[in-house]
């Protein structure tokens, strides 16, 4: 027997163990997300996926769906909060979209367009985060990291390498690589690792392929992220 809950007033069926986000996506309702990835267990850090259930905010990527839940997601209130979370991510790092190789393929940028984030609102932190260009094939531009830990999880759980981990705490948290020198070149990272191809923003980049596809013809240029994500099952 199929069970269901209400998503923005519409019935959505779910199976045991499915989270709100999984069930909603399966039924064709997009919920914004950055740290969630279909191939990994929920992480719960970005909070873009917040929805309201019974008046309380919850992370839809992590909370199992329950019979009869009433979930609010695509509302001015929640989208306003999501926009503010995006603004926080933007001011925390250094995001110069026009010169970024990931522009048009970046989930952060695409979500900002989708949720109509027009200004950063808050003061920029302008952190000092030097890039690491030591590796033969790969480049790390830490300025854009949103700490989703997808690279950490992919390297540890799929590549079996543990190239990345987070260190520091609070606003000083940052990505570190598995080498005493702190240089990516001194790790066993390779361009065909899953971790090299999973970053939702422009931190982990392949060298020598810069701007192979021109800006304007990229993933989120033609269609908004809420359409692309559902079409591609992301």
């Amino acid at each position: 027997m199929s069970r269901q809950f209400l998503f923005d007033g519409q019935p959505v069926p779910f199976e045991d163990g499915q989270t709100i986000l999984q069930a909603a996506h399966a039924a064709g309702h997009y919920i914004p997300h950055l740290c969630w990835h279909p191939d990994f267990p929920p992480h719960g850090s970005c909070k873009l996926c917040i929805v309201k259930v019974g008046g309380r905010h919850v992370s839809s990527c992590a909370l199992p769906a329950k019979e009869g839940m009433e979930v609010e997601s695509n509302t001015p209130e929640i989208n306003g909060e999501r926009r503010a979370l995006l603004q926080m991510l933007f001011v925390e790092g250094n995001h110069f979209c026009p010169s970024c190789e990931k522009s048009g393929n970046c989930q952060l940028q695409a979500l900002a367009y989708d949720l109509e984030m027009l200004t950063p609102r808050f003061n920029h932190f302008f952190p000092d985060r030097p890039v690491d260009a030591s590796h033969r094939d790969m480049l790390l531009d830490f300025n854009r990291c949103i700490f989703c830990e997808l690279c950490v999880r992919a390297s540890r759980d799929v590549d079996g390498k543990n190239v990345f981990a987070l260190t520091g705490r609070g606003i000083h948290k940052h990505l570190a690589v598995n080498a005493e020198s702190g240089r990516l070149a001194d790790t066993d990272f390779a361009a065909d690792d899953l971790a090299a191809n999973i970053c939702p923003v422009g931190v982990i980049l392949h060298k020598r392929v810069g701007f192979a596809v021109t800006i304007g013809k990229r993933k989120y240029d033609a269609k908004p992220i809420h359409t692309v994500a559902l079409e591609e099952g992301e």
Partner: protein, 601 residues
């Protein structure tokens, strides 16, 4: 240190910890106690020794405030930065010490001898201002003590040769009730519970309606029952002795003078749920209690109160390990605590599942506060009904309050739940009181028109902090201190708290420097809302409490800091020129923009 020495140190520390990677944090604390700080070589050596990726060790080392990945001095002085220490003059005393030692705050002295900085509340609020020197608490700092400390450091006197009076920590128990009053013989409560039998023991716990004293107020019997019913044989009992909430120090007193009751409570919990392993997670600031606590544990083992077949009961096997924290308030949050116990960064987990089913290493785990566990001995001795006879219907028994701030007799007060704020204020000799902060930085700010309210879960809940502010205090500064605390202590896992607490900190500093505008108050309120609603754990969601309360109840204190302008550019030219001033070595008035001129322009 050479690489060889590093390997040796790491190997020894790992051996002492059984080569167990879940003890990574304990290994790092151990290594650092020998080496002073965690160099890159040491981190590599520990990783190799434990067989874990180096980057994981680096991740853990970078998380805890008391682990140092940069060289530190022989003497590390950390002034407690809680508002109560500040009110007792901590900032001036710190400046004085820096002056005498010729060091800049937060920087290592040129000769590598000493560094002076601040740290979050050290739990000595009733005998502050306090500081930690190489991790040891030093209380009642005044100018005489600052001179003395400076002299001891300049003479390079080793810490063990410092006058022990400097390190005296008092209990300051001012009011005793059911827990602090009568003497208990070790084992007495345990024997009573064993005589009752497990089922009746749980029934007594239910009757008592005891609720957690760590803040959330969850019913203890329900938690124990859920853990007991959970699948899995290796159950675990954890005592949360992280006591990081600013203004709280009652667990310190329980651990100092009532350790038997605390361990007995843990053993009672183990008996109820069927656990064999126990941990006490002791905040790094209370490291000085470790030897004492180990001694009590050893005594209990030889008395048959821990170990195999406790009190001759076959199958009742339970023992307790003490784990140290290393300066991270968030590790008081129970799932962050479990991560830390497993040797990881103290990041709160996704819940559900809850610790009672998936706790330490995925096993069913009970996590209880120190005071909660100590209270269970009273229930074992006198029964649940007797326990429930004091306090209020929803908040049974007594509560320990840690009282500090503007009053004549700061210290520990044990009251039945339901006592009014007024009553407490009178007992501790407070007058001309403007506000009371109940429950610490994450608690509630009460204004004088609310002093008839009562300490109870259904009215004013508290983990125990009670900080008093008389009419001379600036409530804006109080809120600013708490915001700074949360920004410093945010674990950084989730977006709203990692960025939001730092944004709030910046707004409060902007207001404090006289550059705030009405618009900033709107931003502050908006960030507060995001923190409350979308944070991953209680740290983020309670971070704005003090600001929200101050904005509602002490708005003039905020508005005094505003310029009478509707709009103020975010750019602060004076602040932006700070780097240029340092470079030019200038600090004269001419190097600053004239504020008056600027306003009239």
């Amino acid at each position: 240190m050479g690489r060889l020495d590093a390997s040796q140190l790491a190997a020894q520390a790992c051996t002492r910890n059984g080569g167990d990677a879940t003890r990574l944090l304990q290994v790092l604390i151990d290594v650092q106690e020998k080496a002073g700080w965690l160099s890159a070589e040491l981190i590599s050596a520990v990783a190799a020794e434990l067989g874990v990726p180096r980057v994981r060790v680096e991740g853990v080392a970078g998380f805890y405030s008391f682990l140092y990945t940069e060289p530190v001095g022989n003497y590390r002085v950390l002034f407690s930065d809680n508002i109560t220490d500040r009110m007792l003059g901590a900032p001036e005393l710190m400046d004085a010490l820096c002056g005498k030692l010729w060091v800049e705050r937060g920087k290592l002295s040129e000769d590598g001898l000493v560094s002076v900085d601040t740290t979050s509340c050290t739990g000595m609020c009733d005998q502050g201002p306090a500081l930690l020197v190489n991790g040891r608490p030093l209380t009642r700092v005044d100018h005489r003590r600052v001179n003395q400390i400076a002299e001891l450091i300049r003479r390079k006197e080793p810490l063990y040769a410092w006058p022990s009076e400097l390190f005296r920590v008092d209990d300051n128990i001012r009011r005793r009730d059911a827990l602090l009053g009568p003497d208990q013989r070790p084992g007495e409560a345990l024997r009573a519970a064993l005589t009752r039998g497990r089922e009746d023991w749980l029934a007594q716990m239910r009757l008592s309606n005891l609720r957690g004293r760590g803040g959330a107020g969850f019913t203890t019997a329900v938690k124990w029952q859920a853990c007991r019913d959970a699948a899995g044989a290796d159950k675990v009992v954890v005592c949360n002795a992280d006591e990081g909430e600013p203004g709280t120090f009652k667990d310190r007193v329980l651990l100092s003078s009532f350790a038997d009751q605390v361990f007995e409570g843990m053993t009672l919990a183990a008996w109820a749920v069927g656990a064999q392993r126990g941990f006490l997670y002791l905040r790094g600031e209370y490291r000085y209690l470790l030897d004492h606590l180990q001694h009590v544990l050893a005594r209990r083992r030889s008395a048959g109160l821990l170990g195999n077949a406790i009190l001759g009961e076959t199958g009742f096997d339970f023992d307790i390990d003490i784990h140290l924290g290393a300066g991270a308030y968030v590790c008081g949050e129970e799932t962050a605590l479990l991560e830390s116990l497993e040797g990881k960064r103290g990041t709160p987990r996704i819940r559900p599942p809850f610790p009672v089913t998936h706790g330490y290493l995925g096993r069913p785990t009970v996590v209880n506060n120190v005071e909660t566990l100590a209270k269970t001995t009273l229930i074992a001795l006198h029964g649940g009904e007797a326990f429930a006879a004091t306090g209020t219907a929803q908040s049974t028994g007594t509560k320990l309050l840690s009282i500090s701030g503007d009053c004549a007799y700061p210290g520990i007060y044990e009251y039945p739940f339901g006592v009014s704020i007024e009553h407490v204020l009178e007992d501790c000799g407070a007058s001309d009181v403007q506000a009371v902060q109940v429950g610490g930085a994450s608690g509630m700010t009460l204004a004088s028109y609310e002093f008839h309210r009562r300490i109870a879960f259904e009215d004013v809940p508290t983990a125990g902090a009670f900080m008093i502010f008389d009419s001379s205090r600036d409530m804006f500064e109080v809120a600013r201190n708490f915001v700074h605390f949360f920004a410093h202590e945010s674990c950084g896992f989730c977006t709203p708290c990692r960025v939001g607490t730092s944004l709030l900190d910046n707004y409060m500093n902007k207001l404090a420097s006289g550059y705030g505008a009405k618009m900033d108050l709107a931003d502050i309120e908006w960030i507060n809302r995001l923190l409350r609603q979308s944070s991953h754990c209680g740290l983020g969601s309670s971070a704005p409490n003090a600001v929200v309360d101050a904005l509602v109840k002490f708005r003039p204190a905020f508005e005094r800091h505003l310029r009478n302008l509707d709009f103020e550019p975010a750019f602060d030219l004076n602040a932006a020129l700070a780097g240029a001033r340092t470079a030019a070595g200038r600090d004269d008035p001419g190097a600053f923009l004239d504020r008056e001129q600027e306003t009239t322009r």
